[in-house]
Subunit: 306 residues, 2 copies
């Protein structure tokens, strides 16, 4: 069904208006026009219980957690956020075209500097993949070099292997992952990283990905880089202090940032993605006929006034 | 020949050491080890006559121009650099996960604010693609969704269509392009942009790409973002002043930054790319079996001491 719709959209997108009079009828809508016209039902409201606010001096970074992919890590991260674990810690790594990383800079593989709050588990399983059994997977028709198929599960960019019945979050721009040492099960969510460059998809299935930045990426992406090759700052004063990371549900309602996301199974999302895949307008001259998973925008908006 | 080598490398990369005693013999080399061991002949020296220095308060951004792809734009850019056109102008746009753009912020499609130096052409052809006839194209074996094939020409990331006999620069992180208005031949190289996010490959073949940042990307990627959606600053004082953009060959030799780049047709480059494609080490558990063109690092170094 979706494939048929995409083919129809494709044939519309590359056709030129038959005449100036017909232009208003036959001109394909832009992605923006499609999204602006999406019905209320195409939008989902961000769940405060699955949302982190990272408060920096520069502004608020808003993160949607992915419990469907990494339930144990997400539960641990929530426990740490409730206990104020990250408050006063820092972003201690910024590597250009790769990641920023944050947590306790004085922790190492053996010892921690700041104690973990009550309810924090000290050992978690690796959560690199999930079963796709019974899970809605909004597939893209596009080829992907890294995985047999790609699309969206729970609104997150996802790759999958249908033979194995497995899916995993992809390391697109803005994705949040749990840093680990060499052992697969050595992450507990205390050290986290966000992708700030070209998607390092070679990391897919190698770490437990736990969510995605949906607003405020510019506060992370513009942090001064640390020295090569890893981007760890030489001096503590170069780090960016984290004022707090709290669950939105723990923040007074008046201080929350309400947001909605376009559902990846909505017709508006499908049509907007197709419009981008074969964009032809006054500026774009050649339809690409393709879109990369990590180039698909995931629209976010403030809820419309009632 | 290359494919055969790649297959051999692949079988080495995924094999585990037969025993601890054999580990030193059979362990595949990392990309870093391969590059560190590359012979002098694997490196090429950056040509000062094809190199731009963009001087910012934060540091020097070094750009390699691509005359093989956009000869007319590159000639015009050299004329503008020689005449000091950009000196005192600004980076007036910074859009997260997309581009920074610079030039004359007070110019529009009809008028310019700062006069062009002598030798600057006011009209150039679109240089979106080049012929591959007689051109060495160092192909990657990897599938690419955007183009029939991908690899490197003149050391630049490139996509190609062998049926059409055409190739074009790809919009990878750090690539430099010539902004234009709606007409394909409306760019002259006075307004330039650099990719600072996930490769917007839908722009490939839609603009004249003219070069690549090879050092100092962090000075561009961390520039505060302008407001959405386009990232154009609301106030002139938010712009980043360009102290100067000069050709390296016009700068006194003592003030130049000598650099070498790993040749993309060298065995070291081929082997290092294969090591990344199927990286398995203490940290990486699963070989990707793939690399995206825009994930292939293009190593740069200071020339070794004689």
């Amino acid at each position: 069904m979706r494939l048929a719709l995409l083919v129809i959209a494709l044939s519309l997108a590359v056709v030129a208006p038959a005449s100036a009079q017909d232009a208003s009828k036959t001109k394909p809508r832009s992605a923006k026009e499609i999204i602006d016209a999406a019905p209320a039902s195409a939008w989902r409201t961000l769940d405060p219980a699955n949302t982190l606010y990272m408060e920096l001096d520069s502004g608020r970074v808003i993160i949607e957690l992915a419990p469907g992919f990494a339930p144990e890590h997400v539960a641990n991260i929530k426990a740490m956020a409730k206990g104020g674990f990250w408050d006063g810690l820092s972003i201690y790594r910024s590597q250009d075209n790769f990641v920023v990383q944050f947590g306790d800079p004085d922790a190492d593989e053996k010892t921690i500097a700041k104690p973990f709050p009550d309810g924090t588990k000290q050992q978690l399983p690796a959560e690199f993949t999930r079963s796709t059994n019974g899970v809605a997977f909004d597939l893209l028709p596009d080829v992907d070099g890294w995985a047999p198929n790609v699309g969206f599960i729970d609104g997150f960019p996802t790759a999958g292997d249908p033979k194995a019945g497995k899916a995993w979050l992809t390391h697109c721009y803005g994705m949040l992952g749990a840093g680990r040492s060499n052992e697969p099960d050595s992450s507990i969510g205390a050290e986290l990283y966000v992708v700030i460059g070209q998607a390092p998809r070679a990391l897919d299935r190698q770490l437990s990905s736990v969510g995605r930045v949906i607003k405020g990426m510019e506060f992370l992406s513009t942090i001064p880089r640390g020295p090569e090759p890893m981007g760890m700052y030489a001096k503590p004063e170069q780090r960016t202090t984290i004022k707090a990371i709290h669950l939105a549900s723990e923040v007074p309602e008046s201080e929350r940032t309400p947001l909605q996301l376009l559902r990846t199974d909505s017709q508006a999302f499908i049509d907007a993605t197709e419009a981008r895949r074969n964009r032809v307008d006054d500026f774009y001259k050649i339809p690409s006929g393709h879109i990369d998973l990590c180039n698909v925008p995931l629209p976010v908006r403030a809820p419309p006034a009632k």
